[in-house]
Amino acid sequence: MNDLITVVDWSRWQFALTAMYHWLFVPLTIGLALIVAIMESIYVKTKNVKWLAMTKFWMLLFGINFAIGVATGIILEFEFGTNWSNYSWFVGDIFGAPLAIEGIVAFFMESTFIAVMFFGWKKVSPAFHLTATWLTAAGTALSALWILVANAWMQQPAGMEFDPEQMRNVMDNFWAIVFSDTAVAKFTHTVSSAWVLAGVFVIGVSCWFILKKRNVDMAMDSIKVASWVGGIGILVTLATGDMSAVNVAKHQPMKLAAMEGLYRGSCGQELVGLGVLNPDKKVGDDNDPYLFDIAIPYGLSFLATHNPHAFVPGIDDLIEGIELTREGDTIRTIGYAERIAIGREAHEALRAYDSARANGDDAGMEAALKDLRAAYPYFGYGYLDSPEEAVPPVALTFYAFRVMVMAGGYLLLFFAVALIGVYWRQGWLKNKVVNWVGMFSIVVVWICSQSGWITAEVGRQPWVIQDILPTRAAISEISASSVMLTFWMFAAVFTILLVAEISIMLTQIKKYSKEDITTISKS
């Protein structure tokens, strides 16, 4: 058992490490491709060489990021096959063919259009070149589609049915999977957050140009495009973040409770804007969950349901199966002890199905299948020993959510200042402190984006598929030491890649800012 925990833990760390490193590159690729496409469109329309220069400069940074980030996600697929083989089999079609097709299509699409982007300036017409740039931008966003749909399915399993004979889930409604609430929110929230990230990146780098008083005009125009992309991006991110919160409340209420550090909910539940959790707080005890908190009245009820008076359950309420009406009456829902019992019935039904099948007993199979279908929504609870096991790590989920949301508020202000500054108050953007804040914000936006994934993925523990399969059952029979070894190998490779990315980018940015006319004319 101890060894199992170590394998599960190391495999989770490994998955988190690879996913987070991968996610350092992806949003910049998605967002920067859009910014470059807009810049090139302006160049094609105005024929102003400055816009061509901007397009090419940012395209170079896009190229560096793309080259270093490309294929880092493939490691996640390796890990599915080795560390999480039970899971990979159990999820069936969802991670199989569509992901492979998407990978191949994205690869060919991107390698063709990116080649035209970089090699085709004098070889194809401006309109064709521009089309290739826009298709690259669309392709980068679309290549995130299926993996996000698959991730959403794990949070809200829809459109699939479990086949006990194949021991895997079989897709029975493709559109229900693609258009589930969670898939729509996840895709839109993720892609718009990538626009935000790239917007901040472009503004941050431009601030450095301004600080150094090099190519200020170009930097100002870059800020114009970036603040529009980022400004619209942040509004969409906030709207889709709100949509995500409503979905989480509906499909993963335990995650929402953890995001809020909420143990006992109420009607008109307040939202903790800022708070410090009490480390001594345990499930079911009477300790105050916060050492300190600043709360917004009715905030959580509104965020979770768009109704300021609605009841939002806390961790203890969910475990006990309690919900309150607005009048304060208690309604019983299915508590976690009961879920565990139902989950175990589902397991028994599966065993009964197997033995009936082995004996060629059709009637027995049918009866067992009926029982299995009825209990299947709580199948995963059958693996839990106690209701407390269904509670995710509260502190990490709580703080990660706060970091994302607070950074979201800051970024709204950031883009407002950038837009006002670049159009009406250019003096602001020439202020050294503002330049430093712009550069520092690059770090903030990456932390914000990573915190989003921490909230989503840590908050859904212990489930790898919500209510159906806990993480510890998904693991393969492998040794912890081999996972540890590859963990450190990945850590080394990714760190080298990251250092390479940052240093190549910095070298190019510096080089471009310093070039004088003689060198330029000779280059």
């Binding site: 060489v49 061509l52 220069a53 090419k56 400069f57 395209m59 170079l60 190229g63 560096i64 080259a67 270093i68 294929a71 493939i74 490691i75 390796f78 890990e79 096959g81 080795t82 083989s85 039970n86 990979s88 089999w89 159990f90 080649a115 970089f118 090699f119 085709g120 300036w121 004098k122 070889k123 194809v124 194949q166 021991m167 895997r168 190519n215 200020v216 170009m218 175990r344 397991h347 599966l350 693996y383 510890r472 059952a473 393969s476 492998i478 590859t486 190998m489 990945f490 490779v493 890649l497 390479a500 190549i504 190019q508 471009y512 800012s513 070039e515 004088d516 330029i520 004319s521 280059s523």
Partner: protein, 96 residues
């Protein structure tokens, strides 16, 4: 300064293309071929990036995938039925 920058950058930065006018009547395959060929030849930073991509792919596929990340179910079982059985045993045992 800005104009200098623009002129300089107006040449494809780092990944600049060595220009050759090709016969417009060349077939589409030729044109694609020259696009890539000239593109690769004219690269500067791109060269370095390609080297990085190739080394990375080598490490990922030849070292990690080959030696450390076999697809266990594909490696250890010959048919989907056997794989289903293996997962069934694993999932039904881990609840005990």
């Amino acid at each position: 300064m800005n104009t200098y920058f623009c002129q300089w950058v107006a040449k494809p930065p780092g990944i600049s293309v060595r220009m050759k006018t090709r016969n417009e009547n060349n077939g589409i395959l030729h044109r694609i071929y020259y696009l890539y060929r000239d593109g690769f030849r004219g690269m500067t930073v791109g060269r370095y990036l390609w080297a990085l991509i190739l080394i990375k792919l080598f490490i990922l596929f030849f070292i990690f995938k080959l030696f450390f990340f076999p697809n266990l179910l594909n490696r250890d079982y010959n048919s989907d039925e056997e794989r289903a059985q293996a997962v069934r045993s694993a999932l039904m045992e881990s609840d005990r």
